[in-house]
């Protein structure tokens, strides 16, 4: 994909050079420009490709590094050979049984959170309108907290989280009414988040000390001790939902940002698109919460960083996903190795990094009048 971007750049510069030498080639230049506008309408932009591929490569590098570090150090080269199935048995056990599930969960959860954040921000037309601000994540965590306090198993917890997230989305959608303006959806979502936070606070006071520690750890978002049981469902949901989002919703969402009226005039089935995108995003974020807890801020920040880097309009789904995976893997690596003697829950790292980014975002975006 990088090569296609580079080669296009080459043709453009080539055309420019020809333009200076002969007047006849002017026609050719206009055709190249026309070709470029058509192409960009389809949604492939060189910057987006570079950002997506760059983030993916960075994720891979961190992955290799992160698989190699821990109580038992493994050299990067050995990590790679082990991953291709040619390492020694000890390495293979440590990597595929202990470290890989956690890493894969981090990548998948980061991707899911970022995708749903991009969709939500695009739907409500506000750069702060991510599912963790609008009560969807709170729905998942309140339901999961109920299970923790009742002493349920971790499978029950995951199921409750998924159902809770979906129920909260449905409720917000119902209360906000059919005329789903970004504005009202946001306010209803914030109200819902406040109610659910109140209920969570109550649930926390009901638990005994042991359960509270577990509940609080879960509420912060942690990847400790994740095995294939968490990674596989997340992967299945991503495989099912992402193609729908990318192929069916992506182009439509970009047109939808111009306003409902313009979009329906351009032939976009607005209600269908909106509900479909909302449901897919809610599914992604609920499953993400079920696998890793309500990790803060990844859904908020990843689409922003992606947009800032690609400078493209629309939800920027693919670059967002890549950046989200990178963010969560990086945050988890930091969480494991920042302190010498203990590992932090990943939610702490994303919370602190996210908070700093947020303050910066609020001041700059406010100055630009975009929030």
């Amino acid at each position: 994909m990088t090569t296609s971007g580079a080669s296009r750049k080459e043709t453009t510069s080539g055309a420019n050079r020809e333009e200076t030498t002969s007047g006849a080639s002017r026609e050719m230049t206009t055709t190249t420009t026309k070709a470029r506008t058509i192409k960009s309408r389809v949604g492939v932009r060189p910057r987006a490709v570079v950002v997506g591929v760059g983030a993916a490569i960075a994720t891979l590098l961190i992955s290799v590094f992160s698989l190699g570090t821990g109580d038992f150090e493994i050299a990067p080269a050995d990590v790679v050979t082990t991953l291709f199935g040619e390492g020694n048995p000890a390495h293979e056990f440590i990597i595929t049984e202990l470290r890989l599930p956690r890493l894969i969960t981090a990548i998948l959860v980061g991707a899911a959170l970022a995708a749903s954040g991009a969709v939500f921000q695009s739907l409500v037309r506000n750069p702060l309108g991510s599912p963790d601000m609008l009560g969807v994540t709170n729905g998942a965590s309140t339901a999961a907290l109920t299970v923790v306090i009742l002493g349920g198993t971790s499978t029950q917890l995951s199921v409750a989280a998924v159902l809770g997230g979906l129920a909260a989305t449905l409720l917000i959608q119902l209360i906000a009414g059919r005329a789903l303006h970004g504005f009202r959806f946001i306010l209803v979502g914030i109200g819902m988040a406040a109610i659910l936070t109140g209920i969570s606070g109550y649930l926390l006071t009901r638990g005994v000390q042991m359960e509270n520690a577990r509940a609080l750890l879960w509420l912060t978002g942690s990847l400790d001790g994740r095995d294939w049981g968490q990674a596989v469902p997340m992967a299945i949901v991503l495989v099912l939902v992402l193609p729908v989002l990318l192929l069916a919703c992506g182009p439509g969402l970009r047109i939808l940002e111009m306003g409902d009226d313009s979009a329906s005039a351009l032939g976009v089935p607005v209600p269908l698109l909106r509900n479909g995108a909302l449901l897919s995003a809610a599914l992604l974020v609920s499953f993400a919460a079920a696998s890793a807890g309500p990790v803060n801020f990844v859904a908020l920040i990843a689409p922003h960083l992606a947009k800032r880097l690609t400078r493209a309009p629309g939800p920027n789904l693919v670059p967002s996903i890549a950046v989200g995976a990178l963010l969560l893997t990086g945050a988890d690596f930091l969480a494991q190795h920042l302190l010498e003697d203990q590992s932090l829950p990943v939610g702490v790292v994303t919370g602190l990094v996210g908070g700093g980014y947020l303050v910066w975002l609020l001041t700059t975006e406010r100055r630009a009048g975009r929030i």
């Binding site: 914030i190 109140g198 209920i199 000390q209 520690a213």
Partner: protein
Amino acid sequence: MALAALAAVAVLSIGFGARFLSPAEVWSGLWDPTAQSYRIVHEMRLPRTLLGLMVGMALGLAGAIMQALTRNPLADPGLLGINAGAAAGVASAAVFFGVGTFYGYVWFALGGAAAVTALVYAVGGGRSATPARLALAGAALNATLYSYVSAILLSDSQAIEKVKFWTAGSLASADFATVQRLLPFFAGGLLAGLLVARPLNALSLGDDAARALGARPSVIRGAVIVAVTLLCGGATAACGPIVFIGLLIPHMVRPFTGPDLRWLLPYTAILAPVLLLGADVLGRVLGSPGELQVGTVTAVLGGPLFLYLVRAAK
């Protein structure tokens, strides 16, 4: 009417509990040292009721003047993260500095509240801020601060137990000492809040008109921020973050008084404690033999009202 409602709720708040006291018993318990109910009223119920009164007034007033200052109907100290800022201050005090007394952490609470008030105002207080913009900025700050609070609580399981009631918002730990210590902060905030009513009225016409009327916008804004900080910081230090009180009461009062703050603020100050004490009584009744935290009750009661307001405002 409003005063009567307040008196009724106060009597109920004193009356309800592990042992129910009739209004007559409450009356004799208040004034007659020989009555059987004297000790119950004075040692347990009265401080709690007084604390509820003060905190309710503080939050209601803070909400009303924030709404006037930001010219934004959705400004609420809870939703805007000011209470969460105070909570973050208290949690840091409890975990990092081992502070456990009200006097110790009220300063941290005030600091946190002041920082967030200034930040939210800087972010969303400009003339161009829409309600949704301000509310989102507040929600985002809330999320940051709560993730910070839970992060530092996670590092210390003793602190979880110490602070867990506090983070849900509760009047249960009330005693006379807390009431006395809150009093100076509360009185200062109340005074400042009521004093800015007139100049804030002028400010609602816009900065230029206000200046023409002899008001000084920057001084007024400063005074409002000080008042909000004192009210919210003190209230939060005493009983934890409580949402929605500051949002709902001004909205319920406004149809009767109109937008004039000289009427709006006193009525808000009287009716807000009615809601808070009512929620507290309800929490004690519903949760018996234990109790529901008042913060939970106000969130669960106030939330739907908030959603209704959003729906009603086309």
